[in-house]
């Protein structure tokens, strides 16, 4: 396959970025999108140019590092995959592919395609946990039975990989899907109910402080989420927030 890549290049956080064009040849359908970028970078290094920097690590869709906006869509045209699992067979010979970083005020660009997603960590730090000591002096696991449906729903919410595609997909750059996934995971478990009130208030407050936008229910986040995190989580978080606010 022969392709034309238009890639966002930006020296650092302060510099102004721009799209640069790179023609590339010899791309096979079995390559992943990142392996295609490896080929590009190997060529750039050999020519004495600086390679394109992008975040990536596990390359099996679970670490949440990779974060490219491909032809305007987070993680590209395929569904339920991260960029590292997107394969070149989704593209055709002669295509032009535009590759940008995830765009959001709360995700400043560090370099080229790498963005700073530490706002997500800070939202988790505000309350994304159950306050139990980890020294092991708890009760036997089976003394906390959990309704299977709730346990499965909790698991589904917990599969969020924190990649930020939801934010990048949203016209308001809202982090509601991300935040609500963690709120839901715990809200659905008896162990998590105890701190539910403080958790939702603190996490939402931090989310707002980080500069993420509001949710206007367009559902783009759910469509682009590589893990299929459901919009129902946002509805659940809204209910939790309302009842917490009334209590508070």
């Amino acid at each position: 396959m022969k392709l034309t890549l238009k890639i966002w290049r930006q020296k650092n956080n302060k510099a102004k970025g721009e799209l640069k064009t790179y023609p590339i040849d010899g791309i096979e359908g079995d390559m992943s999108f990142l392996e295609m970028l490896d080929v590009l970078n190997e060529g750039l290094i050999n020519k004495g140019e600086e390679p394109v920097v992008f975040d990536h690590d596990c390359r099996e869709g679970i670490c949440g590092s990779c974060s490219l906006q491909i032809n305007g869509e987070p993680h590209g045209p395929d569904r339920l995959v991260t960029t590292c699992q997107l394969h070149m067979r989704m593209f055709n010979d002669g295509d032009t592919i535009v590759i940008e970083p995830f765009r959001a005020k709360a995700f400043p660009v560090i370099k080229d395609l790498v963005v700073d997603r530490s706002a997500f960590d800070r939202i988790q730090q505000a309350g994304g946990y159950i306050s139990v000591n980890t020294s092991g002096n708890t009760i036997d696991a089976n003394t906390i039975p959990v309704n299977k449906h709730d346990a499965d729903e909790s698991f589904n919410a917990a599969t969020c990989i924190g990649c930020g595609a939801c934010v990048a997909a949203c016209k308001n750059a809202s982090a509601m899907l991300f935040t609500s996934a963690k709120v839901s995971q715990f809200a659905l478990l008896p162990q998590g109910r105890i701190e539910a009130t403080e958790r939702v208030l603190n996490m939402v407050a931090q989310m707002d402080k980080e500069g993420f936008g509001n949710c206007s229910n367009t559902g783009a986040c759910e469509i682009e989420c590589p893990k299929g995190i459901s919009l129902e989580n946002i509805a659940r978080m809204n209910r939790e927030y309302l009842s917490a606010s009334l209590k508070g």
């Binding site: 392996e35 390359r59 790498v114 997500f120 960590d121 988790q124 946990y129 696991a141």
Partner: protein
Amino acid sequence: MSVLDSKIPKGPLADKWTKHKNDINLVNPANKRNIDIIVVGTGLAGGSAAATLAELGYNVKTFCYQDSPRRAHSIAAQGGINAAKNYQGDGDSNYRLFYDTIKGGDYRSREANVYRLAEVSANIIDQCVAQGVPFAREYGGFLDNRSFGGVLVSRTFYAKGQTGQQLLLGAYSAMNRQINRGKITPYNRHEMLDLVIIDGKARGIIARDLVSGEIERHSAHAVVIASGGYGNVFYLSTNAMGSNVTASWKIHKRGAYFANPCYTQIHPTCIPVSGDHQSKLTLMSESLRNDGRIWVPKKKEDAEAIRHGKKKPNDLSAEERDYYLERRYPSFGNLVPRDVASRAAKERCDAGFGVNKTGQAVFLDFASAIERYGKEQAAIHGNHNPSKEEITKLGKQVIENKYGNLFQMYEKIVDENPYETPMMIYPAVHYTMGGIWVDYNLQSTIPGCYVTGEANFSDHGANRLGASALMQGLADGYFVLPYTIGDYLAQDIKTGKIPTDTKEFDEAEKNVRDLLEKLINNKGTHSVDHFHKKLGHIMWNKCGMARNAEGLKEAMTEIRALREEFWRDVKVPGGMNELNSELEKATRVADFLELGELFAKDALNRNESAGGHFREEYQTEEGEALRDDENFMYVAAWEYTGDPGNEVLHKEELEYENIEVKSRSYK
């Protein structure tokens, strides 16, 4: 006596850990506030240790190269975590988990460590459930279990195919709680590049801020290395792209012995290599062997026809298939341990029965399981005369519930639907049992430098059983290290803050700067990946699933030559004071190029076959691994002396007082 003192407590096996905890020194809460600990790596072992140490009151700094602790490669563990809960009432116990692990490791691990691991395993599950880890449950609301290789009980707890993710997010949430309290300071996008030793004790590290490129000094009263394994020395592995040996290798060069580097786990069920562009390999969880049957065609003609696309796997009847694991190992069948399953796959492929284009793959087939589950579900739903279509539909639903994400991953990569046609799999490098030598307290040969999780060598011997890595990482971090490190730190309550403006920090920082400048200024002609791929090629061909003396000697020479070429000819674009991913890769590959030679040396030294280490010269007539207990029942701990090819061997003899050492059979 050897210079290696394992510090195994005296007394009966089952009482050692309790007695040890009662005997060791404690640090009082007020004094803990004056003690700093550095934790390098935030996976299961590092994240859990950091959270627990901070909760105890120590001041903790964590370091990870990823942009968030949540992305450490423990996240990718799929199948599950073992614990001797005996919830299934199938005869499990601490002793049985201990026994299975020692036997699984081919009698090359320490009894006392493994028993402790089994002893604390049940507590891990309690802890994780309390933290809100959403394990799989049965309809009654209780926890579900599944089976893994090398055992005859169901003791594996799981969260679909994402158990590592859920456990890591649990440890990350415990870390977040402590970050919020100000007890952990996280240094993300930071890489440790040297250890600082003052008066013989580990007192800090030199780290590079990977965004600004700044070289930083960090002091502490103890340093914990939890930076994972070194599988990426093979270039292609199931490890993350950034997984590296650098932190371990730097402490090794500062005096920590490296144990059993040749013990590498080649996992039997990975997606086969598709081409030269391949950057990494993807695991298909061992849990799939609960329901998948492994086979190749009985006749070579059929294998060839399948390779050329002239026949489809489903065209072959049951009689035309060779379910070689069930044939060779009737009592464990498809659930033999990983080393055994990998070698058996290689044997069939080498003999010409492999099935994908390259001939390097075998089938993992779910058709029988789909039929079995389908019938079961039909009966549960009151349909006692179901059609074939109904059975298949119901059966597929069960399989999807159990392994949905793995099947989806397979389909995205291979572009074939594994519900309809068998998966193709082949062994790939997955885990490293070897690592930094530690004593019972998880302390390396450098006082104050502790090593946990995959980075140490301690619990898995020559082969790790499935679902035991998660168990070990969390056991070390939540339940072992927080006790044992206190014993050491009790002597530091009056030390006060360690200054960083000392000659030892100067020297270590200069060391790091020199290394980075050398790489940047080298201006050679080949990229880092070029050398890494070449190294991987040597390792896979000569230090892979089957090794022999001649090949290992060649490997040592070739790796040495490649290392020299690397330093002459590597090209690292960009500068030091910026985000420079090529520079990061270069520092890591430079260390792999040294480790690789020691790896081959260790494999050459070990004139026996044990677990993941298979020397072609040492096998039974049936092709099984042949140990030499008389001469090799020891841990090979290597001391760095300036050259990886000339390291000095120290032996820790292994003693088995509670278990009868037998030849390992799964037949």
